[in-house]
Symmetry: D2
Subunit: 102 residues, 4 copies
């Protein structure tokens, strides 16, 4: 089952500078073959269900190993069976609507 | 790894009456041993990581098998290694603060 | 415009014991007349749009005044115009489906 | 109060092709001066609190006026008082960590 997801992983109990932890998670997502695309409040990924959620688990484990006592993730994930759709197709579809009616 | 999570599973493309689909997911979560607690905008669960995310996958699969073309889930999940904590302990901790300072 | 919402307000940079901050937010939500219902990963509220989002703003402000450097909220909110619906009706609708098919 | 937010606005009850509705919301966010940045599972915005949440309200209203019976939004929003930070600075901070340790 193909899944498109957006992950916002928040380390708790390690102060306010979180980019170091986000970078560790980005690397895990890259290694998992999920082509992560970082944005200002999370990261888009896509892949097989097990691939995505296995990588998320490794992110939690890696942060705890770095000494992060609590990790709270907010995740959106979508599956569809009416047709296949990539992340690029999702954004292209909106952008086509935006330009066509300008 | 123990995880406390909150799931909001939204079937898309099947009209506006979604409670029938939510009920199917509740049963899957019960069968998975996750003690789901339904609230007005999602469901709390707790359990082992694989148990929680395996059940979420079965929810997506079951809705698609019922004819739902798209399923979009919003999920919060938290792990901690500083100490163990149950769902009941999380709410009790806030409620103790509320009553102690009234 | 009536809105049903679910708020998860996370103070960042103040360690791992967050219940004290959650309790402050609960009081603000009560004072705003939003009948908050705490669960293990957030709080359900309902009310008029301005009432809900005005209260959320006061929560962020109150936490910053308590010395919290960063606050990150995850929120779900729903509006509907096909019919009116309360938080109780949402959960009752699912529970009716669960009991009817047992 | 400056806020960085990420919005995922889901129209319910209008089938599975949602890009038309997302495009309407993008225009509202542009008109509100929020510099929206579309990604595959939502849109990043930043601005003053009232500006952001006023625009979100107009998105819900506009979708209902287009005939959407239910709208469900998932939103992340963050405020900080330790220092000012833009969306660009948030992503740049992570990217610096990624490149420095490659």
């Amino acid at each position: 089952m193909h899944v498109i997801a957006d992950l916002s992983i928040v380390p708790i109990g390690v102060g306010t500078s979180l980019s170091r932890y986000v970078a560790v998670c980005e690397r895990i997502l890259v290694e998992a073959g999920l082509s992560p695309r970082l944005h200002a409040y999370g990261t888009n990924v896509e892949g097989d269900w097990e691939q995505v959620f296995g990588a998320l688990k490794r992110c939690h484990e890696a942060l705890h190993e770095m000494g992060v006592p609590r990790v709270s993730t907010n995740l959106r994930c979508g599956t569809r069976v009416d047709r296949s759709q990539t992340m690029d197709e999702k954004t292209a579809s909106v952008e086509a609507k935006l330009s066509s009616t300008d």
